[in-house]
Symmetry: C2
Subunit: 603 residues, 2 copies
Amino acid sequence: MPDYKAPLRDIQFVREEVLNYPDHYANLPGCEEVTPDLTEAIINEAAKFAENVLAPLNRSGDEEGCQWSEDGVTTPAGFKEAYQQFVAGGWPSLSSPSAFGGQGLPSSLDLIVTELNGQANHAWSMYPGLGAGARNTILEHGTDQQREVYLTKLIEGSWSGTMCLTESQGGSDLSFLRTKAEPRGDGSYAITGTKIFISSGEHDMVENIVHIVLARLPDAPEGTRGISLFIVPKFLPNADGEVGERNTVSCGSLEHKMGIHGNATCVMNFDGATGYLIGEPNKGLNCMFTFMNVARVGTAVQGLSHAEVAYQGGLRYAIERLAGRSLTGPKNPDGPADPLIVHADVRRMVMTCKAFAESHRMFVHYLGLLTDHMFISVDETEKQKADDLLGFLTPIAKGFMTETGLEAANIGVQIYGGHGFIREWGMEQNVRDARISTLYEGTTGIQSLDLLGRKVLGSGGKLLALFAGEVLELCGQLGEEEETLAEYGTTLGEYLTEWEQLTRTIGERAVVDANEVGAVSVDYLMYSGYVVAAFFWAKMALVAQQKLAADSSEELFYRSKLATANFYFQKLLPRAKLHASGIMSGADSVMELSDDDFVAILG
Amino acid sequence: MPDYKAPLRDIQFVREEVLNYPDHYANLPGCEEVTPDLTEAIINEAAKFAENVLAPLNRSGDEEGCQWSEDGVTTPAGFKEAYQQFVAGGWPSLSSPSAFGGQGLPSSLDLIVTELNGQANHAWSMYPGLGAGARNTILEHGTDQQREVYLTKLIEGSWSGTMCLTESQGGSDLSFLRTKAEPRGDGSYAITGTKIFISSGEHDMVENIVHIVLARLPDAPEGTRGISLFIVPKFLPNADGEVGERNTVSCGSLEHKMGIHGNATCVMNFDGATGYLIGEPNKGLNCMFTFMNVARVGTAVQGLSHAEVAYQGGLRYAIERLAGRSLTGPKNPDGPADPLIVHADVRRMVMTCKAFAESHRMFVHYLGLLTDHMFISVDETEKQKADDLLGFLTPIAKGFMTETGLEAANIGVQIYGGHGFIREWGMEQNVRDARISTLYEGTTGIQSLDLLGRKVLGSGGKLLALFAGEVLELCGQLGEEEETLAEYGTTLGEYLTEWEQLTRTIGERAVVDANEVGAVSVDYLMYSGYVVAAFFWAKMALVAQQKLAADSSEELFYRSKLATANFYFQKLLPRAKLHASGIMSGADSVMELSDDDFVAILG
């Protein structure tokens, strides 16, 4: 793989210059000590860890994969040691409450670590990612005693976690869930069943693994209203808080998969394993959503990571590789050929990756602001607004960023030509790793129904209107500028009007035929994503223009932001029009052949 | 992998009902005996071989891969035996001249075999594919003696071939070529150099491998005008025509790659190996184009294959897998959930694969008609027209069908959700195998420059006008129909006008700035592809409508063609508008940052 470089200046631009994180922290209760200096120190240390510890293990981890034996799962060479360094560096505890040994910092800082680790080594980054999910679930829904027993270990990182939802009968459809939880009379439950696709389900990196498991109580109603949530630790904790007896949960086998070979994707067998109820009986799905929303944002960040890896790798190769001559005459006349970057088609590909990576980064840290407000703010109005915006933007972020992250990863391969197909260059691994991101934590189709059905139509358009307010505010600011920026404001305003009109059209049609929602929901999600990304590019362009006018010491940096914004508005935003056309043409041609027709066609 | 079924009815529809192959063969000199019965027998036998022999080796071949040792390369278990069956069945000789033991049938019949073999087992199908390329090159450019020595063996299939172009310094840029050919004074040459990415370069399936090698003579001019073509056999043929002394050409190593693991992608070392000049000195590239054009059509067929595999696998899973309930109420009320196919978004994905697979099949067999005319026709006007149309359509077929074949393969994964990522289901292998198709035999970017630069602008628009004539003829026929078909004619006519206008616009801009060609060439290729596919869908719809009116015994079959045409016109053809927008926005935003800016950004 080409040397990975943490994109520090780009992160700083987005966080400090565009989103004004320093003021954000200064105004956030209890976060006054999060100064730019502290943030910078954290970013720099995270970058060193990602560049020097994780990136070198990325390809070897892919080649070696995880190994199963009856005694457990062995992770690729170096993964365990990297994890120990991660724990020693205090990274798992960054945003956890100090009551349980955490550093009490805002969770928006975690996003930096998530981005950098994911870019350096997607497979490895999933181990601490799942631990954080288990921690959040127990923090929010656990009893005092559960928090006491599990949180300190999860927060220091000596224990990790998993999220055990899926069973073989149904993936996204949890109504199929069969795993049973029998009360034992002592407050514990005997959990029996088999879960599949359990990321980080079993491995050798920690002392204990805390499984968060969906299961049914004996008297549970059928369907998704009869699902409860349980803590099932690999080792039962002793009274002293350390690991005790081995629980009857084990990894039956590892899945053979396309990518993320360094992560153990496990079939987990629960054989009357001891578990403890979290939250109310039969309300497990509600509790699980805490975990899932965080996981969806985490997966969205992976979309950013894959785009960044494609951009870095593609740009480096385009500059270093000599092939052909520019159509406008030799640009490297003393060399045997010109570098690839002179070719307009190659440059189009590099710019596409750059445009996605940089607006995705904005998206991530914009979500970070909202997450901080939701968790930390004491202003109830602000809290609610952040919660609403997060609910609206999360499926867009997950669906749009992973789809375009996968596209960028494929462009990364394409820039390398035949070499892109060869493992040693690392670009094909980026595609194989990226391929999972549009599937897990809810496919793009699932995200699109969450967005269009639940969030947009389900709120009667209120959530879209809330975000529209943010866009209109920016349009107002852009309207005070000249030329290109003013045009961005006008364009953005037009798309916003169209977005609202498309939403009304779908809403009207859905009254007559609910399939009008499903047939266009992915188009709707992608349309939304392109407009949201335009909002971010316009925001970045506004700041870059101001910086350029004020100080020319980083002329190229700011000019490249303006050029990329221009590329985005010229070449990528028009894709929204295609999705609008997809929405307008509705469900008829999709549903013309009946279910029975398809059965007959298959024969 | 889901059971592979050769799409016999679809092939028959395209060839016999839409393209009227029976009349075509009846009118083609020397092809009178190619009756529908003979064709049907060939198709049925080819289907049995693909379904029963090749398909079962597809996943095992991927898992096992090829093994290198100093003694040579071993192909996966069963590959050699399958090849022997292929030879015993007479398949390699199908379209070869009877003078060298061939069956003398038209090469359009080969396309059926190429499609079916590629669908059943992409990696395996490349071994005979490369043999056919070597055969064609020697047939067209070899001396009488070379034809005598090599053709019988290549045609019976006991020997195979390769195409040795690429060297490590430059992929598509052949001006870098360094392999040397020193005349020995006895009519032979000593070939020295290293070639990379040589598909089927070394393996255990045949007695001898005939390498077709590009190299430079000592006095050759620099650049691509100094390249000559050589035959370099693995074993030097004896006077009796059988294999003799081992030549000093060997496989140095196998590439580690993303997919097509069952095909040996070799680094080939020529160490003063004995070679024989084919064609004129320094005219090697011209000769190589014979090979490359056939290879490009063959790669286009792979795009069809990947789309068909995605369609078959996706449809089967969508019908068999139960998950969730239709938004319009349960469709399988007695079951625990509805099949996936009830969900409009899943159906959209299945229809997309179906629409691409079926129009790609039309494209392939349309090219087959042209190839027959070009090679067999005695009417010089018809021959020239076929040659011109093939020149115009080949880069579109290669670029568009592989790009959309890869898209379809990814949709195949997406339909399976998380299971799509798991190897056992076969859908991820389809993506990994498909990934090479937009890269080898000239990337999509290279195809797009061939199309726009060389074929369209290079002919002053003549080649586009030639194809436009075909489209207009169809528009005339559609104009005599009612409702939907008449609308297709109108729509097609509008796109044709736009296509010509876009071409003029690019031509005018290119006079001022040649980058205007490179910046939009891929958009131009994709635009062209979508319009060509609309032409094919309109043709199919016209026939389906007529059949439906005449005879309702296959009502569903013809109705499904009409429904898929409707889906194509509603949901896929509008993508051409996006590419038109990409063309109209030109090169400015692509080229705004300079070469030096990018070097500075990389740092």
